[in-house]
Symmetry: C2
Subunit: 345 residues, 2 copies
């Protein structure tokens, strides 16, 4: 970060982002601020609406820290066109704050596509990053999670893009998620290095020749086993996999319903099993989580689910703070620089 | 089919294919033959081994119908090299029988990759087919199944390959699986036609301009819902998705184990729920099924799971018979010819 900004972490929050904005965004942000006053909070959005929520909840907040943005990018707006048509939207204004070094982080539960586009096109990428990447944590059979990168930030990834995802994911998962020297698998159709499509076969070589803790190709069946920390794939594959995984609970419910409808005994058995299943599958409702960072942006960009609760917003902000404290952006830049120089030798 | 062969259906069965060969293959084949004597059965493999199984089980079978093949392609053999090194293997000999019009169908539970390679390279493709395709039936929340094509026959599929998969899958699912005018979705990262990777965006247009019952792009979360009959995707994506889906049962078991280990009460509740879950999830153990045809081959090629039971082998043979009776190969050829001529107009 340049010296033009305060070394104290400044986090801008999109007050208008999400299905329950501005309420959930404002309440979550204020709560994060109260619990960890060690950062400066900026609320971005319609000043009146934000102040209304604040006064309704008897919350005090410095009105100078409310950055007015007249427009709102709605959840259904087209990401790229809305950036142009709504240049005074909270997402555009917030992304500009990071671009202009007036904030270190921007957090939003708004339109995901628009946030990805604004972060990439307005805030900009870290030097050495071809494409930013976004991950998801899938629960595994052993109780932990498996991080999948990319889950939709970009499609048609080239081998060097997949390599960059591996570098960025490895730094994020070790520094922020606390997994030391995380194992990395490359998602493919067979364990042998020669199995895969053109992109993964070339990416396999790139990742293998790095210092990353690469265990080789992994298959679809390995993601949920719990033996790998990070799985790398193109965003097209990762997005389909993530949405498929999210729908498994629906399949279970459907199957239980069909079973219950077969007889009175079945109905009773299903009713009894319901609580057990709910207990066993805690943590499998992906929407409960907070947001995820878009890695590779030259500033911290965290994107949350539209239905984010105040707690989810709070967690997103605290994650942004942690990323700032641990110099994540610099670490990604340095690591990619290391590999670029190594390859040029 | 040419007139050099008997109009009576001739089905060749790989007696040496599968983890329990020759036992399961021979028993399943004989059982199919007894239940439906309306076809001619050829058993391909080591004559001695086959006759041993036959006599052990007091089964009579015309020894002229045993086609000797000295070698066996093992499950772990490399598909392409084994075709060259083991030219007298049951898979190569069986595929040649179909190529030479001495059989209409070849059925094997052996090495899947070798069967795909032998069918494609030895038996050959239907005129107009760029690449063969293989599907899988995934159980859905509504009790039916969703057919996914391709699940691994080919990767890096071009738009016209995806279109051909849609044509072939549509014919197979309507003629053999009995789904009238099946709905077809193109697997992508968003419902809008402009969302996807380069291949799916172009394939979308091709499928849309056809007579197929195309409902547009579908997402990962739509596969298990039960609203779509056929989902089309590249084999890289489909293979990962299928193996991921097969592993969901393992995730459930793992989660239940972790839950049970937390307390005695949980252990009892988990024990009670186990039977209910097993009942509700019947049909979700994908390995129970028989084999699936490799569509696009100029002859019937059915590939089964290595662990196929005699019943699975029998079902594979009866499916081959049905495909023959319904002229599936000709129908695929005619349909693709129709689209080629239409596009040349």
């Amino acid at each position: 970060m340049s010296s033009t900004i305060n070394p104290k972490c400044i986090i801008a929050v999109d007050a208008m982002g999400g299905d329950y904005a501005p309420r959930n965004a404002v309440l979550g942000a204020i709560d994060a601020f109260k619990s960890s006053p060690d950062f400066e909070l900026l609320l971005v959005g319609k000043k009146d609406s934000i102040q209304e929520i604040l006064s309704e909840n008897n919350l005090e907040f410095d009105s100078d820290k409310i950055i007015h943005a007249e427009q709102i990018i709605e959840m259904h707006d087209s990401p790229t066109t809305s950036l142009k048509l709504k240049s005074d939207s909270s997402i555009v204004v917030g992304s500009k704050l990071v671009k202009d070094k007036k904030a270190h982080a921007f957090v939003s539960a708004g339109n995901t596509g628009a946030m990805m586009a604004a972060s990439t096109l307005i805030t900009g990428r870290i030097k050495g990053v071809s494409r930013p990447t976004m991950g998801a944590a899938l629960p595994t059979a052993k109780g932990g999670v498996c991080y999948v990168y990319d889950v939709g930030a970009s499609v048609d990834s080239k081998p060097d893009h997949l390599f960059e995802y591996a570098v960025m994911a490895s730094i994020f998962v070790s520094e922020i998620e606390g997994v030391k020297n995380p194992t990395i698998g490359l998602l493919s159709v067979g364990e042998e290095s020669e199995k895969g499509n053109e992109a993964t076969k070339a990416a396999h070589k790139l990742i293998k020749n790095s210092n990353l803790n690469f265990i080789g190709n992994v298959e679809g069946r390995d993601v949920l086993k719990g033996d790998i920390n990070i799985v790398i794939c193109d965003g097209f594959v990762g997005n389909i996999l993530l949405k498929f995984a999210e729908s498994v609970i629906g399949l279970l419910k459907g199957k239980m319903r069909i079973y219950a409808d077969k007889s009175i005994t079945n109905k009773l058995r299903a009713l009894l099993a319901k609580g057990t299943l709910k207990g066993a599958l805690t943590g499998m409702d992906y929407q409960e989580y907070g947001g995820v960072p878009l890695l590779g942006i030259n500033g911290i960009s965290i994107i949350g689910h539209g239905s984010s609760s105040p707690l989810a917003i709070k967690n997103m902000i605290l994650k942004a703070k942690e990323m700032y404290d641990k110099n994540l952006i610099q670490k990604i830049e340095e690591s990619l620089k290391f590999y670029t120089e190594k390859n040029n030798d």
